[in-house]
Protein backbone atom coordinates (compact mmCIF):
# COMPACT_ATOMS: atom_id res chain seq x y z
CA UNK A 1 0.00 0.00 0.00
CA UNK A 2 2.52 2.49 1.27
CA UNK A 3 5.56 1.67 -0.77
CA UNK A 4 6.65 5.03 -2.04
CA UNK A 5 8.32 4.93 1.32
CA UNK A 6 11.37 2.86 0.32
CA UNK A 7 13.43 2.64 3.49
CA UNK A 8 12.44 -0.37 5.58
CA UNK A 9 10.96 0.06 9.03
CA UNK A 10 14.20 -1.27 10.50
CA UNK A 11 16.42 1.12 8.53
CA UNK A 12 14.36 4.05 9.72
CA UNK A 13 14.79 2.91 13.30
CA UNK A 14 18.53 2.52 12.78
CA UNK A 15 18.68 6.10 11.58
CA UNK A 16 16.68 7.25 14.63
CA UNK A 17 19.05 5.37 16.88
CA UNK A 18 22.27 6.64 15.31
CA UNK A 19 21.16 10.29 15.28
CA UNK A 20 19.64 9.92 18.77
CA UNK A 21 22.85 8.46 20.17
CA UNK A 22 24.91 11.22 18.60
CA UNK A 23 22.64 13.72 20.35
CA UNK A 24 23.15 11.76 23.58
CA UNK A 25 26.93 12.03 23.12
CA UNK A 26 26.64 15.73 22.43
CA UNK A 27 24.61 16.26 25.61
CA UNK A 28 27.52 14.94 27.68
CA UNK A 29 29.97 17.46 26.22
CA UNK A 30 27.40 20.21 26.48
CA UNK A 31 26.75 19.42 30.14
CA UNK A 32 30.44 19.23 31.01
CA UNK A 33 30.92 22.70 29.52
CA UNK A 34 27.88 24.12 31.27
CA UNK A 35 28.94 22.83 34.67
CA UNK A 36 31.36 25.78 34.71
CA UNK A 37 28.29 27.91 35.34
CA UNK A 38 28.11 26.41 38.81
CA UNK A 39 31.42 28.06 39.82
CA UNK A 40 31.38 31.25 41.92
CA UNK A 41 30.14 34.13 39.73
CA UNK A 42 33.45 35.85 38.85
CA UNK A 43 35.23 32.60 38.14
CA UNK A 44 32.26 31.24 36.19
CA UNK A 45 32.18 34.32 34.03
CA UNK A 46 35.86 34.19 33.09
CA UNK A 47 35.96 30.46 32.60
CA UNK A 48 32.65 30.09 30.70
CA UNK A 49 33.33 33.00 28.35
CA UNK A 50 36.82 31.90 27.42
CA UNK A 51 35.55 28.34 26.95
CA UNK A 52 32.83 29.60 24.58
CA UNK A 53 35.40 31.59 22.64
CA UNK A 54 37.65 28.55 22.42
CA UNK A 55 34.84 26.36 21.06
CA UNK A 56 33.65 28.86 18.49
CA UNK A 57 37.07 29.07 16.90
CA UNK A 58 37.83 25.35 16.81
CA UNK A 59 37.53 23.55 13.46
CA UNK A 60 36.90 20.20 15.17
CA UNK A 61 34.01 21.72 17.12
CA UNK A 62 32.71 23.25 13.89
CA UNK A 63 32.49 19.82 12.31
CA UNK A 64 30.75 18.45 15.37
CA UNK A 65 28.28 21.30 15.25
CA UNK A 66 27.36 20.56 11.62
CA UNK A 67 26.86 16.90 12.47
CA UNK A 68 24.73 18.11 15.36
CA UNK A 69 22.45 20.26 13.20
CA UNK A 70 22.12 17.42 10.71
CA UNK A 71 21.33 14.95 13.49
CA UNK A 72 18.59 17.14 14.91
CA UNK A 73 16.98 17.64 11.51
CA UNK A 74 17.23 13.98 10.47
CA UNK A 75 16.09 12.73 13.89
CA UNK A 76 13.03 14.99 13.82
CA UNK A 77 12.08 14.24 10.21
CA UNK A 78 12.51 10.52 10.74
CA UNK A 79 10.50 10.78 13.97
CA UNK A 80 7.72 12.46 12.04
CA UNK A 81 7.70 9.78 9.33
CA UNK A 82 7.77 6.95 11.87
CA UNK A 83 5.08 8.47 14.07
CA UNK A 84 2.75 9.12 11.12
CA UNK A 85 3.24 5.59 9.78
CA UNK A 86 2.58 4.14 13.22
CA UNK A 87 -0.58 6.20 13.59
CA UNK A 88 -1.82 4.72 10.34
CA UNK A 89 -0.97 1.09 11.05
CA UNK A 90 -2.19 1.07 14.65
CA UNK A 91 -5.40 -0.58 15.78
CA UNK A 92 -7.79 1.49 17.92
CA UNK A 93 -9.98 0.02 20.63
CA UNK A 94 -13.22 1.20 22.23
CA UNK A 95 -11.80 0.24 25.62
CA UNK A 96 -8.03 0.38 25.81
CA UNK A 97 -6.00 -0.86 28.77
CA UNK A 98 -2.91 -1.77 26.80
CA UNK A 99 -0.98 0.86 28.72
CA UNK A 100 -0.66 -1.56 31.65
CA UNK A 101 1.92 -3.53 29.71
CA UNK A 102 4.45 -0.74 29.11
CA UNK A 103 5.84 2.53 30.43
CA UNK A 104 3.99 5.75 29.50
CA UNK A 105 7.13 7.49 28.30
CA UNK A 106 7.99 4.62 25.96
CA UNK A 107 4.64 5.14 24.24
CA UNK A 108 4.93 8.91 23.98
CA UNK A 109 8.35 9.49 22.46
CA UNK A 110 6.81 11.67 19.75
CA UNK A 111 5.15 13.99 22.28
CA UNK A 112 8.26 14.14 24.47
CA UNK A 113 10.33 14.83 21.36
CA UNK A 114 7.98 17.64 20.31
CA UNK A 115 8.35 19.22 23.74
CA UNK A 116 12.11 19.01 23.34
CA UNK A 117 11.84 20.59 19.89
CA UNK A 118 9.78 23.50 21.25
CA UNK A 119 12.39 23.92 23.94
CA UNK A 120 15.18 23.86 21.35
CA UNK A 121 13.59 26.72 19.42
CA UNK A 122 13.79 28.96 22.52
CA UNK A 123 17.17 27.59 23.47
CA UNK A 124 18.68 28.36 20.06
CA UNK A 125 17.04 31.79 19.94
CA UNK A 126 18.23 32.84 23.38
CA UNK A 127 21.81 31.57 23.37
CA UNK A 128 22.99 30.15 20.07
CA UNK A 129 21.55 32.97 17.95
CA UNK A 130 22.63 35.63 20.44
CA UNK A 131 26.17 34.31 20.50
CA UNK A 132 26.52 33.91 16.75
CA UNK A 133 24.56 36.88 15.43
CA UNK A 134 23.66 39.12 18.37
CA UNK A 135 25.78 42.08 19.51
CA UNK A 136 27.15 40.83 22.79
CA UNK A 137 28.99 42.95 25.35
CA UNK A 138 32.64 42.00 25.96
CA UNK A 139 33.97 40.89 29.33
CA UNK A 140 37.26 42.09 30.91
CA UNK A 141 39.37 39.68 28.86
CA UNK A 142 37.74 40.77 25.64
CA UNK A 143 35.63 37.60 25.21
CA UNK A 144 31.98 37.84 24.23
CA UNK A 145 30.08 37.91 27.53
CA UNK A 146 27.81 34.90 27.06
CA UNK A 147 27.76 34.49 30.81
CA UNK A 148 25.89 37.78 31.19
CA UNK A 149 23.32 36.60 28.63
CA UNK A 150 22.85 33.33 30.52
CA UNK A 151 22.38 35.09 33.83
CA UNK A 152 19.97 37.61 32.32
CA UNK A 153 17.94 34.82 30.69
CA UNK A 154 17.19 33.20 34.03
CA UNK A 155 15.84 36.38 35.52
CA UNK A 156 12.21 35.22 35.49
CA UNK A 157 11.01 32.27 37.53
CA UNK A 158 8.66 31.10 34.79
CA UNK A 159 11.53 30.89 32.33
CA UNK A 160 13.50 28.82 34.81
CA UNK A 161 10.46 26.62 35.30
CA UNK A 162 10.08 26.19 31.53
CA UNK A 163 13.71 25.10 31.38
CA UNK A 164 13.42 22.64 34.22
CA UNK A 165 10.22 21.08 32.87
CA UNK A 166 11.81 20.76 29.43
CA UNK A 167 14.72 18.93 31.03
CA UNK A 168 12.26 16.45 32.48
CA UNK A 169 10.76 15.90 29.02
CA UNK A 170 14.31 15.30 27.80
CA UNK A 171 14.99 13.01 30.75
CA UNK A 172 12.04 10.75 29.99
CA UNK A 173 12.91 10.78 26.30
CA UNK A 174 16.39 9.57 27.21
CA UNK A 175 15.18 7.05 29.77
CA UNK A 176 13.46 5.19 26.95
CA UNK A 177 15.58 6.44 24.08
CA UNK A 178 19.00 5.35 25.24
CA UNK A 179 18.31 1.67 25.68
CA UNK A 180 15.82 1.65 22.81
CA UNK A 181 18.60 2.84 20.54
CA UNK A 182 20.86 0.01 21.66
CA UNK A 183 18.06 -2.43 20.81
CA UNK A 184 17.40 -0.82 17.46
CA UNK A 185 21.07 -1.20 16.65
CA UNK A 186 20.84 -4.86 17.51
CA UNK A 187 22.33 -5.37 20.96
CA UNK A 188 20.82 -8.68 22.02
CA UNK A 189 23.30 -10.29 24.38
CA UNK A 190 21.38 -10.48 27.69
CA UNK A 191 24.32 -9.47 29.88
CA UNK A 192 25.20 -6.33 27.92
CA UNK A 193 21.55 -5.50 27.42
CA UNK A 194 21.10 -5.22 31.16
CA UNK A 195 24.34 -3.25 31.53
CA UNK A 196 23.22 -0.79 28.87
CA UNK A 197 19.85 -0.42 30.54
CA UNK A 198 21.45 0.41 33.88
CA UNK A 199 23.93 2.73 32.22
CA UNK A 200 21.13 4.44 30.26
CA UNK A 201 19.11 5.00 33.41
CA UNK A 202 22.10 6.51 35.21
CA UNK A 203 22.93 8.60 32.15
CA UNK A 204 19.35 9.95 31.94
CA UNK A 205 19.31 10.92 35.62
CA UNK A 206 22.68 12.68 35.41
CA UNK A 207 21.78 14.59 32.24
CA UNK A 208 18.37 15.65 33.55
CA UNK A 209 19.52 16.71 36.99
CA UNK A 210 22.72 18.25 35.66
CA UNK A 211 20.96 20.49 33.14
CA UNK A 212 18.02 21.28 35.44
CA UNK A 213 20.19 22.36 38.34
CA UNK A 214 22.03 25.10 36.39
CA UNK A 215 19.10 27.50 35.78
CA UNK A 216 17.83 26.90 39.32
CA UNK A 217 21.27 27.64 40.76
CA UNK A 218 21.72 30.79 38.72
CA UNK A 219 18.22 32.01 39.50
CA UNK A 220 18.68 31.47 43.21
CA UNK A 221 22.21 32.84 43.54
CA UNK A 222 22.05 35.71 41.04
CA UNK A 223 18.46 36.87 41.22
CA UNK A 224 16.90 35.81 44.48
CA UNK A 225 19.72 35.91 47.03
CA UNK A 226 21.57 38.96 45.71
CA UNK A 227 18.63 41.19 45.01
Amino acid sequence: MDNKNRASTLMRKTLMAVTGLFLCFFLVIHLLGNLQLLLPAEQAKASFNSYSQLLSGNIFIKIISYVLYASIVIHCLDALIITLKNKKTAGRYAVDNRGKASKWYSRNMGILGTLILIFLVFHFRDFWYQYKFGSLPKDESGHKDLYAIVVAAYHDWWYVLFYVLSMFALGYHLLHGFYSAARSLGLYHPKYVSWVRTFGTGYSYIITIGFAIIPIYIYLTQHVLWN
Binding site: L10, K85, K88, S180, R183
Partner: protein
Protein backbone atom coordinates in the same frame (compact mmCIF):
# COMPACT_ATOMS: atom_id res chain seq x y z
CA UNK B 1 -22.29 -15.45 38.20
CA UNK B 2 -23.93 -12.87 36.00
CA UNK B 3 -22.00 -10.90 33.38
CA UNK B 4 -22.69 -7.84 31.30
CA UNK B 5 -20.94 -8.31 27.99
CA UNK B 6 -20.20 -5.68 25.39
CA UNK B 7 -19.12 -7.55 22.30
CA UNK B 8 -17.91 -6.25 18.94
CA UNK B 9 -20.33 -7.30 16.20
CA UNK B 10 -19.50 -6.72 12.56
CA UNK B 11 -21.05 -8.67 9.69
CA UNK B 12 -18.08 -8.48 7.29
CA UNK B 13 -14.87 -6.65 6.51
CA UNK B 14 -16.65 -3.96 4.52
CA UNK B 15 -19.32 -3.02 7.05
CA UNK B 16 -19.16 -0.89 10.17
CA UNK B 17 -19.14 -2.75 13.43
CA UNK B 18 -20.30 -1.79 16.89
CA UNK B 19 -20.32 -2.99 20.48
CA UNK B 20 -23.53 -4.85 21.35
CA UNK B 21 -24.77 -5.43 24.92
CA UNK B 22 -25.54 -8.94 26.17
CA UNK B 23 -26.42 -10.22 29.61
CA UNK B 24 -25.30 -13.71 30.48
CA UNK B 25 -26.50 -15.53 33.59
CA UNK B 26 -25.28 -18.71 35.30
CA UNK B 27 -21.65 -18.37 34.24
CA UNK B 28 -19.56 -20.94 36.13
CA UNK B 29 -16.18 -19.67 37.38
CA UNK B 30 -14.48 -22.85 36.08
CA UNK B 31 -15.48 -22.09 32.51
CA UNK B 32 -12.80 -20.91 30.16
CA UNK B 33 -13.45 -17.61 28.43
CA UNK B 34 -14.26 -19.47 25.22
CA UNK B 35 -16.73 -21.75 27.03
CA UNK B 36 -18.43 -18.64 28.33
CA UNK B 37 -18.64 -17.41 24.72
CA UNK B 38 -20.05 -20.81 23.68
CA UNK B 39 -22.73 -20.47 26.36
CA UNK B 40 -23.67 -17.07 25.03
CA UNK B 41 -23.76 -18.39 21.48
CA UNK B 42 -26.02 -21.27 22.51
CA UNK B 43 -28.52 -18.74 23.81
CA UNK B 44 -28.21 -16.60 20.69
CA UNK B 45 -28.85 -19.62 18.46
CA UNK B 46 -31.90 -20.65 20.52
CA UNK B 47 -33.26 -17.13 20.08
CA UNK B 48 -32.60 -17.34 16.34
CA UNK B 49 -29.80 -14.75 16.41
CA UNK B 50 -26.48 -15.06 14.62
CA UNK B 51 -23.86 -16.41 17.04
CA UNK B 52 -20.71 -14.39 17.77
CA UNK B 53 -17.93 -15.67 15.56
CA UNK B 54 -14.47 -16.05 17.03
CA UNK B 55 -11.30 -17.95 16.15
CA UNK B 56 -10.29 -21.01 18.15
CA UNK B 57 -8.96 -24.49 17.64
CA UNK B 58 -6.98 -26.43 20.24
CA UNK B 59 -8.37 -24.74 23.36
CA UNK B 60 -5.27 -25.81 25.21
CA UNK B 61 -3.04 -22.83 24.60
CA UNK B 62 -0.86 -24.26 21.86
CA UNK B 63 -2.33 -23.43 18.47
CA UNK B 64 -2.49 -19.65 18.64
CA UNK B 65 -5.89 -19.43 16.94
CA UNK B 66 -7.84 -17.82 19.77
CA UNK B 67 -7.30 -14.17 20.51
CA UNK B 68 -9.55 -11.42 21.80
CA UNK B 69 -9.07 -7.99 23.27
CA UNK B 70 -10.72 -8.40 26.67
CA UNK B 71 -11.32 -5.19 28.62
CA UNK B 72 -8.70 -3.55 26.44
CA UNK B 73 -5.96 -6.11 27.03
CA UNK B 74 -4.78 -8.76 24.61
CA UNK B 75 -5.95 -12.20 25.82
CA UNK B 76 -7.48 -10.52 28.89
CA UNK B 77 -6.20 -9.35 32.24
CA UNK B 78 -3.64 -12.10 32.95
CA UNK B 79 -0.17 -11.70 31.43
CA UNK B 80 1.30 -14.47 29.25
CA UNK B 81 -1.93 -16.40 28.69
CA UNK B 82 -4.05 -17.28 25.65
CA UNK B 83 -7.76 -16.45 25.67
CA UNK B 84 -8.68 -20.15 25.80
CA UNK B 85 -6.61 -20.54 28.98
CA UNK B 86 -8.26 -17.58 30.67
CA UNK B 87 -10.92 -18.69 33.15
CA UNK B 88 -14.02 -16.93 34.36
CA UNK B 89 -12.77 -17.08 37.96
CA UNK B 90 -10.63 -14.09 37.03
CA UNK B 91 -13.86 -12.05 36.82
CA UNK B 92 -16.47 -11.15 39.43
CA UNK B 93 -20.21 -11.53 39.50
CA UNK B 94 -21.77 -8.43 37.93
CA UNK B 95 -18.65 -7.49 35.93
CA UNK B 96 -18.93 -5.69 32.62
CA UNK B 97 -16.58 -7.21 30.06
CA UNK B 98 -15.66 -5.57 26.77
CA UNK B 99 -14.70 -8.01 24.04
CA UNK B 100 -13.14 -6.71 20.83
CA UNK B 101 -11.18 -8.35 18.03
CA UNK B 102 -7.40 -8.01 17.73
CA UNK B 103 -7.05 -4.83 15.69
CA UNK B 104 -4.38 -3.63 13.28
CA UNK B 105 -4.30 -2.25 9.76
CA UNK B 106 -2.62 -5.53 8.80
CA UNK B 107 -5.34 -7.67 10.48
CA UNK B 108 -8.63 -6.93 8.70
CA UNK B 109 -11.72 -8.07 10.57
CA UNK B 110 -13.54 -10.89 8.81
CA UNK B 111 -16.57 -11.05 11.08
CA UNK B 112 -17.22 -10.18 14.73
CA UNK B 113 -14.10 -11.26 16.63
CA UNK B 114 -12.58 -13.18 13.74
CA UNK B 115 -9.60 -11.48 12.09
CA UNK B 116 -7.52 -12.25 9.04
CA UNK B 117 -4.00 -12.95 10.27
CA UNK B 118 -2.76 -14.38 6.98
CA UNK B 119 -0.18 -11.57 6.90
CA UNK B 120 1.74 -13.74 9.39
CA UNK B 121 1.61 -16.70 7.01
CA UNK B 122 2.97 -14.58 4.20
CA UNK B 123 5.85 -13.41 6.41
CA UNK B 124 6.70 -17.03 7.15
CA UNK B 125 6.43 -17.96 3.48
CA UNK B 126 8.80 -15.13 2.60
CA UNK B 127 11.40 -16.85 4.78
CA UNK B 128 11.64 -19.71 2.31
CA UNK B 129 12.46 -23.30 3.21
CA UNK B 130 14.99 -25.13 5.32
CA UNK B 131 16.37 -28.33 3.85
CA UNK B 132 15.53 -30.99 6.41
CA UNK B 133 15.14 -34.65 5.56
CA UNK B 134 11.63 -35.54 6.65
CA UNK B 135 11.90 -39.24 5.84
CA UNK B 136 13.64 -41.55 8.27
CA UNK B 137 14.51 -39.89 11.56
CA UNK B 138 18.06 -38.63 10.99
CA UNK B 139 20.92 -39.57 13.28
CA UNK B 140 20.32 -37.34 16.32
CA UNK B 141 23.93 -36.28 16.72
CA UNK B 142 24.71 -35.92 13.02
CA UNK B 143 24.76 -32.16 13.39
CA UNK B 144 26.32 -31.16 16.71
CA UNK B 145 24.13 -28.66 18.57
CA UNK B 146 24.70 -27.77 22.19
CA UNK B 147 21.94 -28.07 24.70
CA UNK B 148 21.96 -24.29 25.26
CA UNK B 149 21.70 -23.63 21.52
CA UNK B 150 18.77 -26.01 21.18
CA UNK B 151 16.97 -24.52 24.18
CA UNK B 152 17.50 -21.00 22.95
CA UNK B 153 16.22 -21.86 19.47
CA UNK B 154 13.24 -23.56 21.05
CA UNK B 155 12.46 -20.48 23.14
CA UNK B 156 12.13 -18.53 19.90
CA UNK B 157 10.31 -21.34 18.10
CA UNK B 158 7.66 -21.40 20.85
CA UNK B 159 5.77 -18.53 19.19
CA UNK B 160 2.28 -19.76 18.31
CA UNK B 161 1.46 -16.92 15.93
CA UNK B 162 -1.54 -15.67 17.91
CA UNK B 163 -1.04 -12.00 17.04
CA UNK B 164 -1.32 -10.67 20.60
CA UNK B 165 1.98 -8.86 20.14
CA UNK B 166 0.57 -6.92 17.20
CA UNK B 167 -2.75 -6.28 18.94
CA UNK B 168 -1.13 -4.94 22.07
CA UNK B 169 1.48 -2.84 20.28
CA UNK B 170 0.64 0.85 20.03
CA UNK B 171 2.10 0.77 16.51
CA UNK B 172 0.72 -2.64 15.54
CA UNK B 173 4.26 -3.75 14.86
CA UNK B 174 4.90 -7.39 14.08
CA UNK B 175 8.50 -7.17 15.28
CA UNK B 176 8.13 -9.78 18.02
CA UNK B 177 6.50 -12.37 15.78
CA UNK B 178 8.82 -11.84 12.82
CA UNK B 179 11.93 -11.74 14.97
CA UNK B 180 10.94 -14.94 16.76
CA UNK B 181 10.70 -16.73 13.41
CA UNK B 182 13.97 -15.22 12.17
CA UNK B 183 15.87 -16.02 15.38
CA UNK B 184 14.52 -19.54 15.71
CA UNK B 185 16.02 -20.47 12.36
CA UNK B 186 19.16 -18.35 12.70
CA UNK B 187 20.06 -20.08 15.96
CA UNK B 188 20.32 -23.55 14.44
CA UNK B 189 22.94 -24.72 11.92
CA UNK B 190 20.30 -25.94 9.44
CA UNK B 191 18.69 -22.50 9.29
CA UNK B 192 21.78 -20.42 9.76
CA UNK B 193 23.08 -21.09 6.26
CA UNK B 194 20.39 -18.94 4.67
CA UNK B 195 19.76 -16.54 7.54
CA UNK B 196 21.20 -13.52 5.68
CA UNK B 197 18.76 -13.86 2.81
CA UNK B 198 15.89 -14.85 5.08
CA UNK B 199 15.99 -11.83 7.35
CA UNK B 200 15.92 -9.44 4.38
CA UNK B 201 12.96 -11.07 2.71
CA UNK B 202 10.94 -11.58 5.90
CA UNK B 203 11.39 -7.97 6.98
CA UNK B 204 10.48 -6.81 3.48
CA UNK B 205 7.29 -8.85 3.67
CA UNK B 206 6.56 -7.58 7.17
CA UNK B 207 6.73 -4.01 5.86
CA UNK B 208 4.61 -4.80 2.81
CA UNK B 209 1.89 -6.13 5.08
CA UNK B 210 1.68 -2.69 6.71
CA UNK B 211 2.79 -3.44 10.22
CA UNK B 212 4.18 -0.47 12.15
CA UNK B 213 7.66 0.40 13.41
CA UNK B 214 8.80 -1.17 16.67
CA UNK B 215 9.27 1.42 19.44
CA UNK B 216 10.75 -1.04 21.94
CA UNK B 217 7.95 -0.44 24.45
CA UNK B 218 8.13 -4.16 25.31
CA UNK B 219 4.36 -4.47 25.76
CA UNK B 220 4.47 -7.45 23.37
CA UNK B 221 6.62 -9.58 25.65
CA UNK B 222 4.31 -8.86 28.59
CA UNK B 223 1.19 -9.99 26.70
CA UNK B 224 2.77 -12.82 24.68
CA UNK B 225 1.35 -16.16 25.86
CA UNK B 226 4.71 -17.78 25.13
CA UNK B 227 6.80 -15.04 26.76
CA UNK B 228 8.82 -14.64 23.58
CA UNK B 229 11.71 -12.38 24.57
CA UNK B 230 12.06 -8.89 23.08
CA UNK B 231 15.74 -9.71 22.65
CA UNK B 232 14.64 -11.60 19.54
CA UNK B 233 13.76 -8.19 18.12
CA UNK B 234 17.24 -6.87 18.86
CA UNK B 235 18.71 -9.96 17.19
CA UNK B 236 16.54 -9.37 14.12
CA UNK B 237 17.75 -5.76 13.98
CA UNK B 238 21.34 -6.95 14.18
CA UNK B 239 20.89 -9.65 11.53
CA UNK B 240 19.08 -7.18 9.31
CA UNK B 241 21.74 -4.47 9.49
CA UNK B 242 24.52 -6.99 8.97
CA UNK B 243 22.75 -8.61 6.03
CA UNK B 244 21.99 -5.24 4.44
CA UNK B 245 25.63 -4.21 4.68
CA UNK B 246 26.99 -7.53 3.44
CA UNK B 247 24.44 -7.95 0.66
CA UNK B 248 26.18 -8.27 -2.70
Amino acid sequence: MKLYLKIWRQSDAASEGKLVDYELDNVIPHMSFLEMMDTLNEQLVLKGDRPVEFDHDCREGICGQCGMMINGQAHGPIANLTTCQLHMREFKDGDTIYVEPFRALAFPIKRDLRVDRSAFDRIIMAGGFVSVNTGQAPEANGIPITHEQAESAFDSAACIGCGACVATCKNSSAALFTSAKISHLAKLPQGKMESRKRVLSMVKQMDEENFGHCSNTEACEVECPQQISVLNIARMNWEYSLSSVLKK
